[in-house]
Amino acid sequence: MPQSLTPWFLVIQRLGIALLTLVIVSFAVFFATELLPGDVAEILLGQAATPEAVAGLREAMGLNEPALSRFVGWLVGLLGGDLGTSYVNKMEVVELISGRLGNSLKLAGVTTLVSVPIALALGIGAAMWRGSLFDRIVSVLTISVISVPEFMVATLAVLIFAVWLGWLPALSYGADVSSLSAMLKAYAMPVITLSFVVSAQMIRMTRAAVIETINTPYVEMALLKGASRKRMVLGHALPNALGPIANAVALSLSYLVGGVIIVETIFNYPGVAKLMVDAVSTRDLPLIQSCAMIFCVSYLSLITLADMIAILSNPRLRR
């Protein structure tokens, strides 16, 4: 039956769009880093290099080939797990990244576990008691967190927890991670900071999604059936808001990508983002490209996931 096919068709379409986007993004990343700068060979050899040496290196690096064929070669390499060699320390990019990726994923994972339940509870609560003191406090807090840069949230967290209260170390790594409590302390600052940033978005979007469903005629109908406030929100509004909420969660988690760059730098946390920021300062192009692709892939998968949840949760499309 065509009706049952529709949602899956849409999902597949969305996946196709995501793949296409990925190709365009990789194209952009490759050409932004590869074509715009003066000349990679000159950069590598420094200003004192002779023209012959530069030409020789260009030849050796295959820079004389047409840009498009280099792009395809690079893309094929990426797919095969060959990320190239770092210009700066001549190490395989795969090696450089593999040690760091786990750290970043751990940070993101812990942040997700901490922020999602808190954010959902606060967002739904604020919608349920809309206009109350609780709602207003949550609103002011979230808007404040959204309005300030991530590094300020981090700075404030350091001021409060490390400088004034002295509970936690300001830097996360280098500290010993042998015992559980020490490890908790090491992770605490980055996770707290990231959670604030991510939750603020999530709370606002969740609240908006629930309020939108509360304002529908069927929730008014529930009121006129004698339903309590709890039943109206949890029983009638929430099931219809699930799609938008899941969407909000996925979208908010994509803010992790931006947040993690700042947070890893500020806390000197050895993740991919820190690696990339360092690579930018040394203009280590293969490393920058690979890190950028990692971030783009994770960002895109979260956004696509959000889209697909939105499609599948539409009751009219669900069977």
């Binding site: 008014e220 006129l224 059936k225 004698g226 339903a227 099931p239 009751p315 009219r316």
Partner: protein, 554 residues
Amino acid sequence: MTNPLVSVRDLRIGATTDAGRKVEIIKGVSFDIEPGEIVALIGESGSGKTTIALSLMGHTRTGCRIDGGNIRLGTSEITAMSERARASVRGTEVSYVPQSAAAAFNPSKRIMEQVIEIAAIHELMPRAEAEKKAVELFRALALPDAEHIGQRYPHQVSGGQLQRLSAAMALIGDPKLVIFDEPTTALDVTTQIEVLRAFKSVMQKGGMAGVYVSHDLAVVAQIADRIIVLRGGEIQEVGSAEQILRAPQHPYTKQLLAAFEPVPHQPVDQPVQAAKPTPVLEVFDLCAGYGPMRDGVPLAKILKNVNFKLERGRNLGVIGESGSGKSTLARAIAGILPAYRGAVMVDGKELKPDLQNRSKDDLQRMQMVFQLADTALNPAHSIGSILARPLTFYEGLRGKAREARVIELLDMVHLPAALRHRLPGELSGGQKQRVNLARALAASPELILCDEITSALDTVVAAAILELLKELQRELGLSYMFISHDLSTVEAICDDVLVMYKGEVVEALPAARMSSEATHPYSRLLISSVPQLDTGWLSGLEQDPELVAQFANR
């Protein structure tokens, strides 16, 4: 005499507008409802009828509050109750049937779940018993497949069925009072009959009292024992249904009744022009549709081979229910939706199907007026500039001459000249529709396509617009193509009528003798389904069940 079931005394409800201004919307209303009696609240938009009905459940919409007076239901004083106590009354003592069941059913839950929810909230009976009772109600409401319809989701049943299901939802807790809030307004006439019948029979069997909110006197006449006429938050007249229809006392009630039965149309006498008999509009084998084109044919074909002819100075009505393609016909003729086959001829000249290829002159001759004046006028432009644009565009008028013409146009539609400085948002519905009409007149057209232009208006205002159309026709020698789902409107203004069903013209009839000359079964069904101002109409109505099964979208 027994105590009334409901008594409302000096009810006052206030509202805060968006601008923060406080207004009184219900100004001291008092009435009683006897047990088992059905009382209709009738009035136009803004009369406060829905607000009063909802207040009987202790509920007011956002921004409104009960400021004074009291409402007693049985032994309980609704106005003095806490919100929690009111919740305990809702569904058990008094329940609600909404205007749009499609919006009032939660799309993500099964129908049965929602129908028996009242029993679950108030812990009236075990689940199995509630489901059994629901199925009985489904049967009593003449729903098909009563055993299993509850297992479906709301979007899987038709509008008319959903409306009856919402009545089952209201009746499950055996309330003493049921509030019907315009429950058939959104339905087609052929569907409306079935729903009205179902409501009437369950209410009679259950011996429940009801409040029936509506703007339609003919519908109310079929179901109500007593009618309360409201206007501007005040009661104008109260009386038995029979008395209100036969011997209205209040001038406003008389006006409402008069608007309901418009003056029949007198064809305009045409100066004899034997030399030029070309019809103003002629349509041959017109086909149009939506969606992607395949081999020059769109995926969703709406119009199928429509043919007709409209003589100069005459008016053609197009009637049909939702989905009949009547609006698509107007759009295809106007070129907004290019027809993929067939021809449109204006004044004997064939027009190109799409707008881009029609000349300014072609476009000027034929103007279209839309149903919703709200969306047809750009809210960012003043009335003056809305009317001025076609003058500049077609005739190159500017400055003083244009201003004078704008004032003249406003005068033609009986609006004061000062209105040209206002924005559309500051006008009433009727005024907006007049401006809408004036804009069409600005092009000095020969033919105006009117797409449901009175449907969104209150009866009295709509009647005035119809009068205006007739007057303009006499003065300017216009021809109208008038699209409507309302037969009496078409009767009031048209010479000939096309009956449309599923994109086809099933019959062409003279407007004045529609009911007597209709031969096609669908036209007969449609014409007989229009409620009459007669309390006995519904009970006396006999329709061939086979015909109904064949044509009505139930």
